[in-house]
């Protein structure tokens, strides 16, 4: 007889709890009733067809996806360039640039949001796509820098030298050797940036215009007025979308590694 492992029991309770929101939302989005309830009553797709009748959700979904995609591309290119430069050329002061680039992670997003609003109002880009894009890039770049720097920390520069010795020019070496070896870090940086932008509420909240809003914010405002199964169905769409990217991230890089939990020490 095996003794019941109390740690395992607590662990599984915690795991169920942190996933409980999704376990509740997804079923209740299929309710046939006109109000929110769990367990759901009956089964119907009505709350999904209802989404189609609400242009504000469709619009904000498209807006969010566009914003997240452009943010991801921008943050990945800029962050990767910066990280590669910082790792290759070390000099007095490169440490300062490094910590400056990572500094947005240490300041509450509330302050980032407020300060961006104040400044963007001054220069006239508050409430525009550009303003949102810049702010989202700001909070995504540090993740890309960190991931690419981690990828570079195990990068063997003699491989590049070997490439040169075999007659490849610098561009070919970068394209054939450096980039493929860093690809997992760069790709996961891009996916992570996408998710960061797609999920963001706190910063976006200060920067959206009333008519063009991101999806999480649309849900946020809708929730503060009414709670009906429509929130559940639109949330389910977001959950499934996010899940695709999470699984991608797990396949490309591994969540354990992404969150710095990669010690296979025993």
């Amino acid at each position: 007889m095996k003794k019941i492992n109390i740690l395992a029991v607590i662990t599984w309770i915690v795991l169920i709890l942190v996933n409980l929101p999704f376990l509740v939302i997804i079923p209740s989005s299929f309710t046939a009733a006109g109000f929110l309830s769990f367990p759901p009553e009956g089964f119907s797709w009505q709350w999904y067809t209802m989404i189609l009748e609400r242009p504000e959700f469709i619009d904000s979904l498209i807006f969010s996806l566009e914003l997240a995609a452009v943010t991801a591309v921008l943050a990945t290119i800029l962050g990767t360039l910066a990280a590669m430069a910082l790792h290759r050329y070390k000099f007095r002061g490169s440490g300062i640039i490094n910590s400056l680039l990572l500094s947005p992670l240490t300041v509450p997003s509330l302050i980032i949001g407020i300060s961006a609003l104040l400044f963007f109002t001054k220069i006239g880009i508050a409430g525009t796509f550009t303003g949102l894009l810049l702010a989202h890039a700001l909070i995504s770049i540090p993740y890309v820098v960190r991931l690419v720097l981690t990828g570079l920390s195990t990068f063997d520069y003699t491989l590049e030298k070997a490439g040169f010795m075999l007659g490849a020019n610098p561009l070919r070496v970068f394209w054939d050797i450096t980039l493929p070896l860093l690809r997992p870090a760069i790709v996961s940086g891009m996916i992570f940036s996408f998710l960061t932008s797609f999920d963001n509420v706190t910063v976006s909240l200060f920067l959206v215009a009333p008519d063009t809003t991101t999806l999480p914010l649309a849900i946020f405002s809708y929730m503060q007025e009414t709670l009906d199964p429509l929130v559940a169905s639109i949330s389910t769409v977001v959950i499934l979308l996010s899940l695709v990217f999470i699984i991608l991230l797990e396949k490309v890089y591994g969540l354990e590694r992404l969150f710095g939990l990669n010690s296979q020490s025993h």
């Binding site: 109390i6 740690l7 607590i10 662990t11 915690v14 709890l17 942190v18 996933n19 409980l20 929101p21 999704f22 939302i25 769990f38 800029l78 360039l81 910066a82 430069a85 050329y89 070390k90 000099f91 490169s94 640039i97 400056l100 680039l101 500094s103 300041v107 509450p108 997003s109 509330l110 302050i111 980032i112 407020i114 300060s115 961006a116 609003l117 400044f119 963007f120 810049l134 702010a135 700001l138 770049i141 820098v145 998710l195 999920d199 999480p216 849900i219 946020f220 929730m223 503060q224 709670l227 559940a232 949330s235 996010s242 999470i246 969540l255 969150f259 939990l261 010690s263 020490s265 025993h266």
Partner: protein, 280 residues
């Protein structure tokens, strides 16, 4: 070869964003926080915290909610981290996935799920009512309890990660050594395992506390109008009252008190012995 030039060139785009969207705006916001209603320089906004008991109460509430969040995440995360440290590679991967994946889905949606579970007509109340355990619905939402539940859900992953990382780093033969020297499992836990993962606990506590102090979405959605924490008040000043200087000052006061409390905490826990053992 001058190394600075390529670095400056390649980091320039990121640095421009950093300067233009972060450093410069923060500076402006800081200056603005010293502006009074007459648009002249004054400490009025900051003095509110000393003079107006309303703001003192709000600050205290913010700290209280954050402390409760730290406590619940710690109590729940520790066993999870312990279990992860014992588990085999595959099981560890599954647990990591299940604890981290929710973290990558918008907090608005997670909070919404909790509202469905905890609301007056929510799942828990329905169940307890139908079982006859309670006569009228419990108030689990739109109070401090609701906020703490929401924040715990949001930040538990950080606590688990911090503690698990420090547990993974402990040589498993240390507990074997304690055991063969005569220490029971409980004794081994308290004399070997726990002292050695103290840095992880500290890291988790500081991080979760800082995050809870500045959390905004969860208190807004799960605390409703009755649990106004400092970030919510700051938001209202900025977006509804349009008193930007006061909003800015509130945000900096929040940041300032968080830094103050965290450094005080660090000062207390980092004894001479702690530094000698854990300094790298």
């Amino acid at each position: 070869m001058n190394k600075r030039l390529p670095v400056l060139l390649l980091t320039a785009p990121s640095m421009i964003i950093l300067l233009g969207v972060f450093l410069l705006p923060m500076l402006l916001m800081f200056l603005l926080s010293f502006e009074n209603a007459q648009e002249s320089f004054s400490f009025e906004n900051y003095l509110l915290f000393v003079q107006d008991p309303f703001y003192v109460e709000i600050l205290w509430r913010t700290i209280r909610v954050s402390l409760w969040t730290v406590l619940t995440t710690l109590v729940l995360a520790f066993p999870v981290a312990m279990y992860m440290a014992q588990a085999t590679g595959k099981m560890r991967g599954i647990i990591t996935m299940l604890i981290l994946a929710p973290h990558l889905i918008s907090v608005v949606i997670r909070n919404f799920g909790w509202v469905v579970v905890l609301g007056e007509g929510g799942w828990i109340n329905q169940m307890l009512l139908s079982l006859g355990i309670i006569d009228e619905p419990l108030r689990l939402l739109y109070n401090e309890l609701g906020v703490v539940i929401g924040l715990t859900d949001s930040f538990i992953a950080y606590m688990v990660l911090a503690i698990a990382t420090s547990l993974y780093a402990i040589d498993p033969s240390l507990s074997k050594a304690a055991s063969i020297l005569g220490a029971s499992r409980v004794r081994t836990f308290f004399t070997v395992t726990l002292p050695l993962c103290v840095p992880g606990i500290f890291a988790g506590v500081t991080l979760v506390f800082s995050l809870s102090m500045s959390a905004f979405v969860t208190p807004a959605l799960m605390g409703g109008t009755s649990v106004k924490v400092l970030p919510v008040i700051a938001y209202e000043q900025i977006m509804s009252t349009l008193n930007w200087p006061l909003g800015a000052a509130l945000a900096f006061l929040l940041l300032g008190s968080t830094i103050l409390l965290v450094s005080a905490f660090t000062k207390i826990v980092e004894t001479k012995r702690y530094k000698e053992v854990f300094a790298s």
